[in-house]
């Protein structure tokens, strides 16, 4: 039967069947999955990380605290409860500079700091990225549209224990005098994993 149906149509029916049975059997409720999804749309997503980055750009003392003790610095800010929750229990920020470009990868799975970045995008979970980024990061970044100068050291961070890293990207030129809100609006999830630089919109 399954050979004759489109792969996605089948998976969609299969997961709906599973969810339906789990609700009927009292394992989850009719609202559980929707509530989980909503949590990542409203409370925990890359919009949190963007605010942290923007604050670090305008407040050098905060930046210092963020790099030294990431959870305590984040706890100073006014976020919804849960910044040290699932997949954010032990986070650490690493700083990009003209001398060092950091790239985060999880070669064995897809560990990602949920409270600051939300859920991992597809490129981060792709086995091809995971395989290549750790050995030829410059080439992968070049394919992503980011040229790293030869003089810059590249540091690739492979999450394989219990700490979740994210990147504090470089503040782009041309943003002098911007407010934290304006700055946060241009920070992307890709930049906070080192796969892109923050750019000023043309």
């Amino acid at each position: 039967m399954t050979e004759n149906i489109d792969r996605e149509t089948y998976s969609a029916a299969r997961v709906r069947a599973l969810e339906s049975l789990l609700i009927e059997k009292g394992i989850i409720t009719g609202e559980t999955v929707d509530k989980v999804i909503e949590f990542f749309e409203k409370d925990m997503g890359p919009f949190n990380g963007a605010k942290i980055v923007a604050k670090a750009w305008v407040d050098p003392a905060f930046k210092q605290r963020l790099l030294e003790d990431t959870p305590s610095a984040i706890a100073e800010m006014n976020f919804p409860r849960g910044m040290a929750g699932a997949e954010g229990e032990h986070m650490k920020a690493v700083e990009n500079t003209p001398a060092v470009h950091n790239l985060i990868v999880c070669t064995m799975c897809s560990c990602y700091p949920w409270p600051v970045l939300g859920l991992p995008p597809y490129w981060f979970k792709d086995p091809t990225f995971r395989a290549r980024a750790i050995r030829e990061p410059r080439k992968v970044l070049q394919e992503f549209g980011l040229e790293i100068p030869e003089s810059t050291q590249v540091a690739v961070w492979d999450t394989s224990a219990q700490i979740r890293w994210f990147v504090l990207p470089e503040r782009p030129a041309g943003t002098e005098g911007w407010t934290e809100e304006q700055l946060a609006a241009i920070v992307t999830p890709e930049a906070m994993q080192g796969a892109a630089k923050v750019k000023v919109p043309a």
Binding site: L21, G85, D126
Partner: protein
């Protein structure tokens, strides 16, 4: 060896996709939500004891990963990320007796015939409260046990080469390689269950720095460092 443990460094691959969406098919978010619910309702969490869910199992990232690492390695690369989740999680519910293969197939057929058929409604609200509480509180692996670290910043360490096990936290490319301890993370960390190759009990975690040329010789790029978080159980003094 298990190919899934050796993904880092594989050669001969095509350019990486820079697909920025989290879910590339609408159904994928449903299996993600189910997995999060299972983690939030896992029986190892103290708060779950009083929650009226019929889920009575131990379910963590470790269990999901163990399933993916147990796949035929060629199948591993055939299926997309959430396809592997769907296969692993539905397989778990069938094998654990929560759902029979017949009823899962019958329901699947019913939704294929009528994709717009609604999901059942209702359920105990405290189940959802626990799942959301899990998301906000987490499940920290850090334990309140004093375990003095064997290594300090600057120490040269050798990565062990333990026999392969069903689920492993050691990237294959690091085995037998030497690096330098860059940071000793504060405290001791357990893993959800003993992996059988040295991880599970509370132990220190280190950030270890490697020169990519010490791992891949000239098959890597100039000026590249690799930092990896490694459980102490995978490290030893260079002999």
């Amino acid at each position: 060896m298990k190919l899934q443990h050796y993904i880092g460094g594989l050669e001969g691959l095509e350019p990486s996709s820079f697909e920025k969406r989290v879910f590339v098919q609408p159904w994928e978010e449903r299996i993600f939500g189910i997995h999060v619910a299972m983690m939030g309702l896992s029986n190892h969490l103290a708060a779950v004891k009083t929650v009226p869910t019929q889920f009575k199992s131990f379910w963590t990232w470790g269990h999901l990963r163990k399933g993916a690492e147990g796949l035929n390695p060629f199948d591993y690369f055939k299926y997309r990320y959430y396809e592997k989740w769907l296969g692993g999680i539905s397989g778990f519910f069938v094998e654990s007796g929560y759902v029979s293969p017949e009823e899962l197939d019958a329901k699947t057929t019913a939704y294929l015939e009528n994709p717009a058929a609604p999901l059942p409604q209702g359920g105990e609200p405290t189940i959802d409260e626990q799942v959301m509480e899990y998301l906000r509180v987490g499940d920290s692996p850090k334990v309140d046990v004093a375990v003095p670290p064997k290594f300090k910043v600057g120490d040269v360490v050798t990565v062990k080469n333990p026999a392969p096990v069903a689920h492993c936290k050691l990237p294959g490319y690091l085995r037998t390689k030497q690096g330098v301890v860059d940071e000793v993370y504060e405290g001791a960390y357990n893993y959800y269950f003993p992996t059988g190759d040295g991880v599970g009990d509370p132990m220190p975690i280190y950030n270890v720095k490697f020169d990519s040329h010490d791992i891949w010789s000239n098959l890597t790029e100039p000026k590249t460092w690799i930092y990896v978080q490694i459980f102490e159980g995978y490290l030893e003094d260079p002999a």
